[in-house]
């Protein structure tokens, strides 16, 4: 079911002694594709674009994650969106690139709690130990492409398309309750 972005209210959705899952506050999201000399883009955005897949950098509240050799995802406060679009449009003529506003496409789950990493193994085939704290990756979670941001050992953000959010939440909710029940 596809739901508008406004229907995902930030806050904790489900919690147990093992883990907690909630929606993050809304933010501006951009998909950036660029090749060649990145310096003008970096100057326009006010941050350096990481060149290794999975690496993150941030400046103020802007945060960028490298997804592929020429692809990045950028998160920023919603109020910052127009400034980012304008700054990149300013260098477009000399340095062609693609900056797409995907704010309305994705929501972020926030996953934490003592067994947060274990909860993710429910739908993620990838070895989560290979994602270091402070990094992120695009991967597959129970059939949906997601972007995982690892903020601490057991603290993750999971970006997914709004159309998959309900499905993924049901799986995460089951996991949260099941891991919580094991503790008793």
């Amino acid at each position: 079911m596809t739901a508008p972005i406004s229907s995902f209210m930030p806050g904790v959705l489900t919690a147990s002694a093992a883990a907690r899952v909630g929606f993050a506050h809304r933010c501006a999201r951009f998909s950036l594709r660029a090749r060649g000399d990145l310096a003008p883009l970096e100057a326009a955005l006010g941050l350096s674009l990481p060149d290794r897949i999975g690496q993150r950098t941030s400046a103020g509240e802007r945060e960028v994650l490298c997804l592929g050799p020429d692809e990045w995802v950028l998160h920023a406060p919603e109020s910052d969106a127009t400034a980012i679009t304008a700054a990149c449009a300013g260098v477009y003529a000399d340095h062609p690139h693609s900056l797409v506003d995907i704010s309305g496409r994705e929501v972020s789950f926030v996953i934490d709690g003592p067994r947060g990493a274990e909860l993710l193994t429910l739908g993620c085939a990838r070895d989560l130990d290979t994602i270091a704290v402070g990094e992120g990756r695009r991967t597959l979670f129970d059939g949906a492409t997601v972007i995982l941001w690892r903020d601490a050992d057991n603290n993750f953000r999971l970006d997914c398309w709004t159309s998959f959010a309900t499905h993924l939440f049901h799986l995460l909710d089951t996991g949260v309750r099941e891991l919580g029940a094991e503790n008793h």
């Binding site: 897949i53 999975g54 592929g68 085939a125 990838r126 695009r138 991967t139 597959l140 492409t145």
Partner: protein, 100 residues
């Protein structure tokens, strides 16, 4: 589950992140208007269908999104190597040497 090494991410990752994309190193005719029907059919439909090591394309679709090439043994399903798109095909004898 197979583990596949993505040459762009430089990581060995589960098969579910990848998609198969047919045989590799098939060059599109450079002058389509001068190509005969037989050559088009050869280009479009004919594949080597080997029993053993096969050069093939894969895409890291749920990761970096890149196409890359791999050599996979179609009998054992073992990946002999993976390499970036555009790189020359690796010598088969050097890949299979260690397996004998």
């Amino acid at each position: 589950m197979l583990l596949i090494h993505c040459p762009y991410c430089n990581e060995t990752l589960p098969e579910v992140e990848f998609a198969y994309a047919s045989e590799a190193h098939i060059a599109r005719p450079t002058r389509p208007s001068e190509t005969t029907d037989e050559d088009w059919a050869e280009f479009l439909f004919m594949r080597s269908n080997v029993k053993g090591p096969l050069y093939e394309r894969w895409r890291h679709v749920h990761g970096c999104g890149r196409f890359f090439n791999a050599v996979r043994d179609t009998v054992t399903d073992k990946f002999l190597t993976t390499y970036k798109a555009g790189e020359p095909r690796p010598d088969l004898s050097s890949l299979t040497e260690g397996l004998k």
